[in-house]
Amino acid sequence: MELQDLYRDVILDHNRSPRNFGPLEGSSTDVQGSNPLCGDRLTLHLRLAGDRIEDVRFEGHGCAISTASASLMTEAIKGRTRAEALALFDRMHALLTDDAAVPDEGLGKLAALSGVREFPARVKCASLCWHTLASALQSSAPESVGAVSTE
């Protein structure tokens, strides 16, 4: 396994210049996620309009994998419905943990994270934002959800 398989250009780019980074005015859901073992912390801001994710932004600090993963995720889920976003969560989960999973074209740029599963210590970095998203979306009353942790 080569380092370039983990740190692909798209990941380095999203780490250097994260998309949708910062506070979100008029957000309807704000959820914190943390990875206590490494100190990664992120806050996900969602503006839900009915069943649709109208806008999403994130804040926090973490390693390149966790920052790029969150940045890519915000691009991928903006405008999607809750069910679509959760389906994407399932596919990402498989991509990050299942050696047999093959990235399909529907994942788009998210497929760049497929190298992470060869680095078991780093899987949590890539999945933190997705767990945070799932926690926000699965809650029946999204405004009341608490913090999530990868531990």
């Binding site: 380092l3 983990l6 740190y7 380095l12 250097r16 490494c38 100190g39 973490g62 390693c63």
Partner: protein, 424 residues
Amino acid sequence: MSGAARTPVRPAEPAPFDVEAMRREFPVLTRLVHGHPLAYLDNGASSQAPRRVLEAVDDYARSHHANVHRGVHTLSEEATARYEGARDRVARWLNAASRTEIVFTRGTTEAVNLVAQSYARPRLRAGDEVLITHLEHHANIVPWQMVCAQTGAKLVVAPIDARGEVDPDAVEALMGPRTRVFACAHVSNALGTVLPVERLVASARARGIATLVDGAQAVPHCDVDVRALGCDFYALSGHKMYAPTGIGVLYGRESMLEDMPPWQGGGDMILTVSFERTTYNALPYKFEAGTPNIVGAVGLGAAIDFLGSIDRRGAHAHEAALLEHAHAALVRIPGLRLIGTARRKLGLVSFLVDGVHPHDLGTVLDQDGIAIRTGHHCAMPVMDYYGIPATARASFAFYNTFDEIDRLALSVERARRMFGGDVV
């Protein structure tokens, strides 16, 4: 000085420390990681074991294992002799007054918990104080927080400064009439700072305050004499000083241990048991309930024999030179910031690189065969003090080389470029 002519006596030049010969004692150092020779710079987390320890553990397991203190059969006697022989070695090595002052534990963490629960808990009253410092490992924070919650005592924290030093005046100013326990690290695991423990322990004792020193990061790098230090308790872990994991030591002054109730109940810590009344065993067995980590103790005893057999002055001087070399090599890297610049440091260097998160750095270095620790080092208050989530930490043993540190610096520079640092 008199004016009489004197011929200065030159001490005989000691033979230089032979690091290559030392490396041959540690089998793991010959392995490759991702196609590169292993550069093991994570000794602060856990050190590697020399052949002598591996062979002692193997010999014990193959030929002498049985339960200790129980059987009259040959193997039980042999196992007991080896286990108790390890205690004798620890006692001599720390210069304890007696072997009964050496309690085997799982490690430093368990040793601190034992003192918190058995010494502090029965004595602390609401409003009493336990004094620690800001640079402690979680193992020397949380047990005290727990006993404070149980008793209504207050945890008081002495400050550190930007270099990562502890000002003894500031600590002494916090030793008040309600301070019952003072606990501090001998060497900081996150910053490498050597604390002025001799003075702090003396100050505490003069005020009637019990003292515990967390020696986990000190014992691999310097000789410790608990009687000269004067502390009531000294805690250490075997696996940071070339022994296996799961074995550690609580040194306790005999008069203190005598006055403490057992911490855990079970076999071996009793003399007689009936349902009405149990009488406890003598020191140190009172604190060793259940079958102990016999093979771990055998390994620790072998590690002490090993340390006793090497040129320790040379080894310690080599470690000091490694640290100096690491500082010099790392500060040349643009955007690199040392975390912890105390004037007295031992064994490790913590740092951050602009634009490169420590975890990414750790992964890049690993691909080059270099093992370092990244994270908060179980010292989150230290990270909070510096306003950072984590650091990268390279920690040394006497088997490390200058070449390994040069590789570290090269690899850090590679990571910096990879993540978009300015090319200088």
